[in-house]
């Protein structure tokens, strides 16, 4: 659809609308509607993270801000734990894609396993993030002791909450898939495939957001200065 040509239509010209064409399949339509809703939801999520990031860049230019990376003694200068966690989320995302792929071929067993693996890996990612929290805390990097610490906990928490929301939906998809008899053919697979596609898209998107957060949180003070300058701070 061309948005501008739509907006330049002349609605005062009445025309007889022909009878509607045969309706498309109900599940297909519902999946399509869910995808539209997900796109808008991801726009909302994007705004949330963008605003957090902008406040981070602004706050990073205040003298009390001490970046968590950049110098060898800073805790995220060698972020191997975060790389490990990232690997878990990448693997979860890949498992989601695998589940989606096999859902198209209606391979119920493989889809169940892949979805289960994605669930477990994502839970592991969240636990591993909590592990990083605990380590930072043990090193004296408390939530309120520096704005850089505050943002680390805030970013990871907000990202984790979004993942937990996704986990609830994925768990529901997993349960409904495990209960549904394999003989429930076409309609059932269309529904499962649609839901898995939504979950996969959500996972990939949150993975993308994590990459951005990871890069941001492990950058040096000079990088923040440059980014803040680009934003006009």
């Amino acid at each position: 659809m061309n948005f501008f040509s739509t907006l330049s239509e002349k609605p005062w010209l009445a025309t007889n609308t022909p009878q509607p064409a045969p309706a498309i399949n109900a599940i297909t339509l519902l999946n399509y509607q869910k995808r539209i809703a997900l796109k808008f939801f991801l726009a909302v999520v994007t705004v949330i993270f963008s605003l957090f990031i902008i406040t981070f860049l602004e706050r990073s230019q205040f003298p009390d801000f001490q970046a968590l990376a950049g110098q060898p003694w800073q805790p995220l200068s060698d972020p191997w734990r975060l790389w490990l966690n990232t690997g878990l989320l990448v693997a979860a995302s890949a498992a989601m894609q695998l589940a989606l792929h096999y859902a198209k071929h209606e391979r119920r067993g493989v889809v169940l396993v892949a979805t289960g693996v994605a669930l477990v890996l994502t839970v592991q990612f969240i636990l591993a993030q909590l592990w990083v929290w605990s380590l930072l805390n043990d090193l004296g990097y408390y939530l309120a002791s520096n704005p850089a610490n505050s943002y680390f906990y805030l970013f990871t928490a907000v990202h984790g909450v979004h993942l937990i929301g996704g986990l609830l939906v994925l768990a529901w998809v997993f349960i409904s898939l495990s209960r549904r008899p394999a003989a429930d053919a076409q309609q059932s697979w269309a529904r499962v495939g649609g839901n898995l596609k939504l979950c996969a898209n959500y996972w990939h998107y949150l993975l993308g957001i994590w990459f951005v957060l990871f890069a941001l949180l492990t950058s040096s003070a000079e990088t923040y200065q440059l980014l803040a300058a680009l934003c006009g701070f």
Partner: protein, 589 residues
Amino acid sequence: MTHTAIAEQIDELHDPSSFITRYIWSQDHKVIAVQYAITAILVGLVALVLSGLMRLQLGFPDSFDFIDPASYLQFVTMHGMIMVIYLLTALLLGGFGNYLIPLMIGARDMVFPYLNMLSFWMYLLSVLVLMSSFFISGGPTGAGWTLYPPQAILAGTPGYNGGIILMLVSLAIFIVAFTMGGLNYVTTILQARTHGMTLMRMPLSIWGIFVATILGLLAFPALLVSAIMMLLDKLAGTSFFMPAIVSLGESLDYNGGSPVLFQHLFWFFGHPEVYIVALPAFGMVSDVLSVHARKNIFGYRMMVWAIVAIGGLSFIVWAHHMYVSGMNPVFGFFFATTTLIIAIPTAIKVYNWVLTLWRGNIRLTTPMLFAIGFIFTFTHGGLTGLFLGNVVIDLPLSDTYFVVAHFHMVMGVSPIMVLFAAIYHWFPLVSGKMLHTGLGKTHFWITFLGTYAIYLPMHYLGFLGVPRRYYSMAGTDFIPESAQTLNAGITVSAIIVGVAQLLFIINVLITLRSKKRTVHNPWEASSLEWQTPQMPPVHGNWGPKLPIVHRWAYDYCVPGAVEDFTPQNVPVDAAHLSEGEAEAQGDRS
């Protein structure tokens, strides 16, 4: 845009099977709309009473023992927040959005009815959380509806502990509720329009609701982000917004935070919020004016473009609320420019409303009176906005009663006029009964003239420099005695207007108790919501077959047409007289 009517495909229409599923846990958009509306109106009445209490103190200082400086600030804060968020946003989008979207686009329901139901219950929860702050130790927050840090969370401000926490939590829950509802509205409008209902055949009400919902989805996150960060500042001792500060002689642990950062976030939400309220009101008033003037809306396409343009521009004007915040002065001129630019599409809308009335066959019904009243109040409030949009004029007027008068005219009275126009207009559709005309017109005149009696003098108080949010002005040298006389007059007017709203409530109650039913489509409107087989529409709205749309929603007094209005679902051939009939009609006239 691909769009296919949902009803022909979806086999489950979540039919209610008991009283509970019909009226309590209902998934029907009409019931949810009424639930939203009743909750919003009830909480709005609380806010109305709070404003009356404020006015009592301002009009007759120190006459009422139960109003002290702390409670006064709490009244101000809760009045503002409830009116803007929990009444106007909820009623316009949750109430009218829910009711009108499926009916006006020819759908059976929202595309995600269960999510829609959850949206209402989350909204109710947010209201309950907010109201609970009246009953906790310290009471609700008195930080002002803008909740600016650092004072919002520091000792000395009323409700700085539980009050502000409950306010922020309530707002967060409200935003979740709004997001659930908003995703439904946009997806339904994009995906569930009936056959023939192209985007440009949608009534302007739907365009207004559609764009306002997108604004809400993109703007409310800013409030959510600021609420989360302020909660952390309050509860965990972080310093996102809190600078190094000495409070009541005690040095606090905060360090280096930026209060101005909060203001940017707040107004990045706050200004689009004006249009989240205004755009649905613009749309609905356009439809009411067109129906009761028996004329097509003037410049439909321009009206749609203006709605879209206002929606876009509303995201780049926020800092005109912050000219005195200490931000970079250069920004002020940028935001003054964008503010003046947004006045252009807004003015186009006002001209088009007036031109819709021009040479119309105007029926001065109650909804029409409120709609015309809106044109006055909105123009008035809009023009004072041009004053405040300019940096040099805003600086001396900032934080005075001029600002209070401006935003009450543009964002308080104007949407309320539209809400009343809409309620009087669509009440027959919702209930099958017509509100009493005499009571309605009395209600209008007292409200319309009364609000002018309240807000016109306030502009003058602003010019005198009377500051807003002050509990008492006694002994201030630059404020003359006459200001107090004006304040007393304003208070009397406010109480009269407040009490006059009982007329509306009485009207609704009397009408609902009456057994007299109105005719189908009593206003002879051509938009789709009036063309349902039953009035009020039943569950599923359209009976066995969805309507097919052949025209826009504004075919009134079309030359050669059979009647002076042609519903959207009437085919072209059936709507026009034959040549002989047209000649005969010409002879008669």
